[in-house]
Amino acid sequence: MSGVPGVKEDCEELLGAFLQADTVRFERFAELWRERRFHTIFYGRMRALERNKLTKKTLDVAQQYFLPPYSFQIRVGALYLLYGLYNAQLCQPKQKIRIALKDWPEIQKFQQDLLDSQHYDVAYIFRRLRLARAFHFTAMPKLLTYRTKKRIEESYFKEEFRDPCNRVNSLITNDVLEEMMNIHDHYQKMKCVISADKSQPDKALSLIKDDFVVNLKDITLEHHEWQQNRVILLQNVEETNETENKKKEETLLKSEGSERANALARIKYRSYSAAIEVSKSRRHRQVHLESSESGSSCGKSPSRSKKPSRRPQPARRRGAMQVAKETVTRHIGMPIITEEDSHE
């Protein structure tokens, strides 16, 4: 379906402003809405057929932000946006908002969250929409149309609106760690029991790393911190984009789009100095930098193209920044652990 040009950008701009406001109150949203006179989005001389089609597509665009994986605040903003668009539309009878069957339990959960956290104004808005019968409950989220598309558009999630991905945390929870600790202890005891010396297991039986569970916990914590940092990093990058503040060069984050040599030199410097201290428990596995070839190759790639340049070699380095020329794209390497050189 060919979309309505500009609607996505306008919605994202409004939702972004709402996100900045850092509140979920309707009054704040209404202020932002009035500032932009968003109700005029349906204006423009057009006949009824075209207006129907346009309104339907606009509501469809706004509806996408109402569902996961967007963060809570964005979803609240999307609900307000849907409310505003539904009431501002000029079609008679009004075009409805499509909700797919698979999304309905999540929306119900969302509503329950709202009531639990006492955001009654949001819940009220939702109830108003329900009462006004603004929803079509459908099997599939998008109405199928059959037009040959020139290119397949992928659904694009704006990065900042997403909730940070919590998959690691949901996999390695406290319970899981505790369980693993118990099993680990039990295993050690079993080994002691069957070996000759009762106080510690035989050397021949040591097949796993002893502090495995502790390491796992540390890694999980690190991942979480990295995620936080990344979010902050992205935000900082956006700010420096707008302000072009030269002072930020000193931080690890970015450099100005200035002389090519300067940029290259800075990258090289940073990539060489980016080794970070590891925690005490893993001192014996200090991260070490690789040889200079990789550094030079990573220095060359920004100059080649404006696209976000990925590292040519598989990720075995600590997170240093790659800077593309004028476009500001960041690639933070995943924190990884280098293997021991000698195994026990």
Partner: protein
């Protein structure tokens, strides 16, 4: 609190795009509108647009006179695209279709009755010698069999004794060797409603009638019935979109739709040649009704007859 979102002054004209807009949408739209004003001479809805709009919206909000015909809450509404079997070159990329809304509790036979296909109205036979006897038996009455194919099951129309099981051939074919189609079944169309079927959205299914006239059916949407929909059960299956086919006009008067086609006609400028009823008789028969010249004449039903 809707008022918080609406402008306080009510004197705004929705046709005029405000100058101070911060919205990208409006800026783009304004440019498009300006371009249109420069290039289009008369800006008015054409026939096709009026037709499309009318068909989409003519039934919204209708209520039946008789309350037993009211559709209940929780009824499902399916949207089907039924493709025409017409194969013209200009339809290569986008095959024309009609869109029908059907209720979940309606039988398959009701859908079958509502599909209007031009091949149902064909009249077989050559009638140059007896032109007055022509429109007697249309194919719809002669060949009543039809079937739907959904998800591996053929639903045959068995309401009349003349109906045959058209799908038997296919089932026998698939069972004769292992062709990779498992478990094709044959059932009666009139026993089933749409709620009984398990369907895939967007997957092409088949409707076959007249022995070899095949239509592809695609289900585009399933949703719950809504207060603003048409709630009169008698109006369903409801046609909401139809492709407009140009009708062939008579070669002589160029006004009326063609009702006859002739082959090997010594009196006609070309082969085949189309005539409306009046022109056909005037040209080929004299005042007493005798046949003049040599020709073969067949009754013709134009695909655009349902416009």
């Amino acid at each position: 609190s809707i008022d918080m979102l609406m402008p306080s002054e009510k004197a705004e004209d929705p046709d005029v795009i405000p100058e101070d807009g911060r919205l990208l949408t409006l800026r783009i739209r304004k440019k498009a509108l300006q371009r249109r004003e420069e290039t289009i001479i008369v800006d008015r809805a054409c026939r096709q647009e009026t037709l499309t709009y009318e068909m989409e919206s003519h039934a919204t909000g209708k209520r039946p006179d008789n309350t037993t015909d009211l559709i209940e809450e929780g009824e499902l509404l399916l949207t089907l695209n039924i493709f025409y079997p017409v194969i013209f070159q200009k339809h290569k990329d986008h095959k024309p279709y009609q869109t029908v809304l059907v209720l979940g509790s309606q039988k398959l036979t009701e859908l079958r009755d509502s599909i209007s296909c031009v091949s149902d109205l064909q009249i077989g036979g050559e009638f140059s010698s007896q032109p007055d006897q022509a429109p007697e038996h249309i194919s719809k009455d002669l060949y009543k069999s039809a079937f739907f194919y959904f998800e591996g099951i053929f639903y045959n129309d068995k309401r009349y004794p003349e109906c045959r099981d058209l799908s038997r051939t296919i089932i026998e074919w698939s069972e004769s060797h292992d062709r990779g189609y498992k478990n094709l079944q044959s059932l009666k169309m009139e026993d089933y409603v749409f709620n009984d079927l398990s369907l895939k959205i967007g997957f092409p299914y088949l409707y076959c009638h007249q022995g070899n006239c095949e239509h592809i059916i695609i289900i585009t949407d399933i949703r719950l019935i809504h207060r603003d929909d048409c709630l009169d059960r008698n109006l369903y299956p409801l046609l909401v979109k139809k492709h407009w086919l140009c009708t062939r006009k008579c070669f002589v008067c160029k006004m009326y739709t063609a009702r006859w086609v002739t082959n090997r006609d010594s009196l006609a400028p070309g082969d085949p040649c189309f005539f409306c009823d009046v022109c056909f008789r005037m040209l080929h028969y004299d005042a007493e009704g005798n046949k003049l010249g040599e020709f073969l004449a067949y009754p013709y039903v134009d695909p655009g007859i349902f416009n």
